[in-house]
């Protein structure tokens, strides 16, 4: 009887040890060059209807959050506050829908005049891959 009681325990320990060494192997495997053949990132492509929704719901911070408290110059560059021809940007990100309307039809951002709107739009048009808001801007471009 005692033997029977002990057997499952011994068995469990052995399984755990195997599982542990397999986990370590798989963790090592994650960081091997061989894994690069497999995609680690798969983006679910939205359909046409969803693409329209994504531009409405996405947003673009002006400037990106790592540059908060900076102003936007008329050429779209990010500068220190009170620089000549620069404007205090919005505290909240601009919505993708507002940006789309402004770029497509020249509408002004609520609470901002034409010069300020132009400066923010130039900033957005200068966004490159790796900047916050770039993916939103690129989805808007496809709709203009």
């Amino acid at each position: 009887m005692r033997n029977e009681d002990q057997q499952p325990e011994t068995g469990t320990t052995a399984i755990e040890t195997v599982a542990e060494s397999q986990t370590l192997q798989s963790r090592r495997g994650l960081l091997r060059i061989a894994t690069l053949g497999t995609a680690a990132v798969v983006t679910v492509k939205p359909g046409i209807a969803n693409a329209a929704v994504s531009a409405i719901t996405c947003s673009i911070p002006v400037p990106q959050s790592s540059q908060a408290n900076k102003w936007i110059k008329s050429d779209g560059s990010v500068v220190n506050p009170n620089t000549k021809n620069s404007y205090d940007p919005p505290n909240t990100p601009l919505s993708g829908e507002d940006v789309k309307n402004s770029l497509a039809y020249g509408t002004r951002y609520s609470g901002y005049n034409q010069n300020e709107t132009n400066a923010f739009n130039k900033y957005i048009q200068k966004l490159t891959m790796g900047k916050q808001g770039y993916t939103c801007y690129s989805s808007i471009q496809r709709q203009i």
């Binding site: 060059i33 983006t43 990100p93 939103c136």
Partner: protein, 93 residues
């Protein structure tokens, strides 16, 4: 030229769900949905804790996974970072 510092707005501006060993992430600012395989979610967690360059992130990732910190691991981290930049989950600043 100094190495670029990578940062992420994950998990703050995302909804993330674990599904079958992968992580499903909806990124609100871009409105896009991504399936992330390991070690990508782990990399994002580390970047969310502290922005870092590629080498620093690789060292921290190897330490957290308890695997050897070697050139191969650094190359893998660099490639995965490029993929994360392309989908907008990671930014350089």
């Amino acid at each position: 030229m100094t190495a670029p510092i990578y940062r992420t707005d994950y998990p703050g501006s995302c909804r993330a769900y674990a599904i079958d060993g992968m992580t499903l992430v909806f990124h609100r600012p871009s409105g896009a949905t991504h399936f992330l395989d390991r070690p990508v979610p782990e990399m994002l967690d580390l970047l969310a804790a502290a922005p870092d360059d590629s080498a620093g992130l690789a060292r921290r990732l190897c330490a957290s996974l308890d695997v050897p910190d070697d050139d191969e691991a650094h190359a893998v981290v660099e490639t995965r970072l490029a993929e994360l930049i392309a989908i907008g989950l990671v930014q350089t600043a």
